[in-house]
Amino acid sequence: MAESENIVAETAEKIFADLADAQTINRDKNGGWKAPLWQALTESGLPLSWVADDLGGSGASLAEGFSVLSAAGRFAVAVPLAETMLAGWLLAQAKIASPEGEMTVAPASPRDRITLNADGTLSGRARGVPFAKVAKHIAVLAAGGNGFSIALVDAASVRIEAGLGLGGDASDTVTFTNVAPITIKPAPKGFDQTVLMLMGGVARSLQIAGALESMLDISVRYSNERVAFEKKISKFQAVQHNLAKLAGESAAALAAATSAADAVANSTSFDDAFFLEAASAKIRCSEAAEKGAAIAHQVHGAIGFTVEHILHRYSLRALAWRDDFGSESYWAVELGKLVADRGADELWPLVASR
């Protein structure tokens, strides 16, 4: 990691530590922590990390932004930071300036599609859109005409049915019925819904990996405190081996997610090797979320199953993030098709391409 990435990530970490401490948030039933956190993030330019200065953002690099998402995962941050970053990034692809305030992206699933009508309006339904209810604007990728278009839409102009994800964060259904966008421009050549889903998937992969790091951390700490059968439970080999497995899952998620982020940050084309990196990250991180969260809960016993304990902030969000921008099952099918289409003898050259 370069020095500057550390500075941006450190800024984010410091804000999260001061204003998004899991223990404090968990006790605050009214969500009073959200406004000060969002304000601090905005003042530091973090939500528009991936938007250039002339489009209203702070012009950080892709790599710097990814390091912010890792930190957001470690703190299981429950404000639309990743979503606003993605929305700003999407708009910037078509040189559309980002407005102030919370944003999200639609569609958030590879199976949903928003279409551009002949009259320039947008129609379609996007399910599982994270934080749509909170967002002031929605960055939309729409199909129609000659390829894809990118649009900025006022959230007040769409119908939003509120939903909740596993982690308790908004995950809403957004319906576009002949909605007139604020701005709409053609997407750059080669930019399609797969690219958007892969980018969203890499963001979620980093967040899952970050949450797993924290689950490992608090599970190790707890096992060194909790006494049963007259010794710390960390001294039981069965517990040690479970935690070693959790470390392995955390490590696998970290490796897959950071490698994919690096591939995105340094790719000049969306080729098969790029697809392998991004799809694999979402698949493997989602698998790690399942295995890792189960172990973290097992180590904590009943206390980890309570709302008072902070473990669920990480475990349930990691599990929820599996569903956004294509589940592991979806990407596994797509990756499997790609591999089969390339043929058996082209599998190893693909895996060994970097």
Partner: protein
């Protein structure tokens, strides 16, 4: 954070790509010439001395070692490329693999100069085969319970006892073994073992092959009876082998051979399902490839750390833990996915033959070179639990 595990996204440098092309060309030529059949993984069992020499001639043995010992002063990442290409092709690497990966580096670090000058160039030429003498009939994972004795005598030591599960001992020219030179102390049960270089194929050493469930005779029992080892064959500190063992583990445990041993069944599965797989096959293959890709990224990352002079013992243990379980499960997953493959798939017979061999190989993968249980103990120590 408790566990500062690092797996940075290391990319292979450009020189690796040219090297990879050369290795692939070499292997394709060897396959064309009939040296080995890439579809017959069990051939890896056989000794291929001529192939070994040709690998040496290409400069692919002792790649990271100093030139004065016949090495090539190239990077760990370059060595990584050669290792993975050989493994994926099912090349017969038995003669040189252990010497190149493990024994050579031990000699480089601990052997006297004249022994280094004698043996290392021969390893680089692919001429000598090494075995590792660790386990004994009553000492496996519990390495420091070893009892085979080295008793001081004029000019050297007399060895008495038995090593077991010793891979390649039947063809090996040398063994690097640990023998007991003193009893353990109350304070340190690991004290009292010393590492030695043993010249094989001499009176006083009897090698008895042991049949494996795969049908191979790949490991052995090695019995020492008043076998003489000269003083200058002692490696490192007397009674201090335990200090020398741990730092080498990162080399031994993180390489591509720790997740690619049964890889061939995945290739054959992809061939069997054809270009238009059903959803079930596609998903199964996609997951396996994502898991494989992730392990390779972890493994390359560890190679990068080794190149940077670090000792990522915990990270390497994680790679072997996850990698060996994956390669152990792989033939079973492929069997699941192959259940509905067309009866007339052109490679059906090859796939079935390979699955049979891979399923029989699978149990050893999480035992050899450090069991899953031992690895998790090391990881747990790294997490501060022990």
């Amino acid at each position: 954070m408790t566990a500062a595990l690092r797996f940075d996204p290391i990319r292979l440098p450009p020189e690796c790509e040219q090297l990879r092309k050369e290795v692939r060309k070499f292997l394709a030529d060897e396959i064309a010439a009939g040296t080995f059949d890439p579809h017959q993984p069990n051939r890896e069992d056989t000794d291929a001395p001529e192939f070994s020499r040709r690998v040496g001639e290409h400069g692919w043995l002792g790649m990271t070692w100093p030139k004065k010992y016949g090495g090539h002063e190239r990077s760990f990442l370059e060595r990584y490329v050669v290792t993975e290409e050989m493994r994926v092709a099912n090349a017969p690497t038995r003669r040189f693999f252990v010497a190149d990966r493990q024994s050579g580096p031990v000699l480089l670090k601990y052997a006297p100069e004249h022994i280094k000058m004698d043996i290392l160039p021969r390893i680089c030429r692919g001429e000598v085969c090494f075995a590792i003498g660790m386990s004994e009939p009553n000492s496996g994972s519990d390495l420091f319970a070893a009892k085979t004795k080295a008793t001081k005598t004029d000019g050297g030591f007399l060895i008495n006892g038995t090593k077991i599960w010793t891979s390649s001992a039947h063809i090996a020219d040398y063994m690097i073994a640990i023998f007991r030179t003193s009893p353990p102390t109350k304070e340190n049960r690991r004290h009292g073992l010393t590492q030695f270089l043993v010249k094989m194929k001499q009176p006083g050493i009897q090698v008895n092959p042991i049949g494996q469930i795969t049908g191979q005779f790949e490991f052995n029992e090695v019995v020492f009876t008043d076998f003489f080892v000269p003083d200058d064959h002692m490696l490192g500190e007397i009674d201090g082998a335990w200090k020398q063992a741990t730092s080498e583990l990162a080399y031994e445990r993180s390489g591509p051979e720790r997740f690619l041993e049964t890889y061939y069944v995945l290739t054959e599965l992809v061939r069997a399902v054809g270009p238009k797989p059903d959803t079930r096959s596609a998903e199964g293959i996609g997951r396996l490839v994502a898991q494989l890709h992730t392990m390779r990224r972890m493994s390359v990352s560890v190679a990068g750390m080794l190149q940077a002079g670090k000792e990522p013992v915990v990270e390497a243990s994680i790679v072997k833990d996850i990698g060996t379980i994956w390669e152990q499960q792989l033939p079973h997953r492929v069997r699941d996915l192959a259940a509905f493959v067309e009866e007339n798939a052109s490679n059906r017979e090859t796939l079935e033959h390979q699955l049979s061999f891979a399923i029989k190989t699978a149990p050893k993968l999480t035992i050899q070179g450090g069991t899953t249980e031992v690895l998790r103990g090391i990881i747990a120590r790294g997490l501060g639990l022990r």
